[in-house]
């Protein structure tokens, strides 16, 4: 029954994160809060790495497939994308190049 310990911890922290996010009306997603709570629990020693390691890595390594259903939702917004194709594509490419450059140069300056 070992996998249930890991799954109980992961889903428990997820539920806790959602509860805190909605109770305090925080704009941060509950899943991100759950991740921070789990990280604190690992750092403080309340949760041991080996209790959750295998189950968490199953999620992390197979995350890709989970993006497909929300991605397919794009079919509902084809008109919107077609209408704003220029701002969307220019913003994506320009922002990627600028972010890559600014981040790399920031780190280079700090390390000098």
């Amino acid at each position: 029954m070992k996998p249930y310990r890991g799954l109980a911890i992961i889903f428990g922290f997820y539920a806790l994160g959602e509860m805190v996010s909605s109770a305090l009306h925080l704009p941060v997603p509950g899943s991100v809060l759950g991740m921070l709570f789990l990280l604190s629990a690992l750092l403080s020693g309340a949760v041991k790495l080996e209790w959750v390691e295998n189950e968490a890595e199953l999620f992390v390594k197979n995350m890709s497939v989970l993006f497909i259903p929300p991605g397919v939702g794009i079919v509902t917004y084809l008109g919107l994308i077609k209408a704003q194709l220029v701002p969307i594509s220019v913003a994506l490419v320009l922002s990627f190049v600028v972010t890559l450059f600014v981040t790399a140069k920031t780190v280079e300056v700090v390390r000098r």
Partner: protein, 223 residues
């Protein structure tokens, strides 16, 4: 509940993952190819997105626990975080903010609508977190998902070459810039060229995800 949506998703993804394992290139990205294929199948079969989602929603739900699980790679890399704490925190602070503002302002200047602006703002963050943030700030999570994947493909295809053009030789700088600008897909490429840069990139992706999730809801109200 119909089983077709989840079956279609898993079958299509399995086929494209096999293809990607044989031919590793940015244009064989299994997530993007699966999204496009399923979109075409729904269109040809005259099936609505809602009826596809009736069972596929089960996969989407698992994004929550998957984000919680990201605590494990961060915890395992805590020594690396401590060693490069100054570089990592400043890189994410400045780079993560640049990613949001440059995309938002460019799209705004070119006339994008408010909903599109809110959907594009979290595009440099790993998909699972970006979808959650998009929903929280009034964007369209589906649009954000596709924009995030497209951004990742840019990093996967061009990040190392662009860093060469910019004359960036430092491995920590290369890894951090790739992770902050193009999350997991960028990381997947740079790790094949340099293991240290790849580890830093994966770490930057996780930390930038958390940073953006916390910053963006407040930032979006003031810009």
């Amino acid at each position: 509940m119909n089983p077709y949506g989840i079956a279609l998703t898993l079958v299509v993804f399995y086929v494209f993952s096999e293809l990607h394992a044989r031919r590793k290139a940015f244009y064989t990205n299994p997530v993007l190819l699966s999204i496009l294929t399923i979109a075409v199948v729904l269109k040809l079969g005259n099936v609505s997105y809602d009826s596809y989602m009736e069972s596929a929603v089960f996969l989407k739900f698992l994004l929550g626990p998957a984000v919680v699980s990201l605590a494990i790679p961060v915890y395992k890399n805590r020594a690396l975080i401590a060693r490069y704490a100054k570089e990592i925190s400043l890189g994410i602070l400045i780079g993560g903010t640049t990613a949001v503002l440059s995309a938002y302002w460019t799209a705004q200047l070119l006339g994008a609508s408010e909903t599109v602006l809110r959907s594009i703002a979290p595009k440099s963050v790993t998909t699972a977190i970006a979808i959650g943030v998009s929903a929280k700030i009034g964007g369209i999570p589906s649009l954000t998902a596709v924009l995030v994947i497209t951004t990742g493909l840019l990093g996967n295809a061009f990040a190392p070459e662009l860093l060469n053009v910019f004359g960036v030789g430092d491995r920590i700088a290369r890894g951090l810039a790739t992770g902050v600008s193009s999350h997991g897909l960028g990381t997947a490429r740079i790790i094949t060229e340099d293991e240290l840069a790849g580890a830093v990139s994966g770490l930057a992706m996780a930390l930038n995800g958390v940073f953006t999730a916390i910053l963006l809801p407040y930032l979006i109200e003031v810009i």
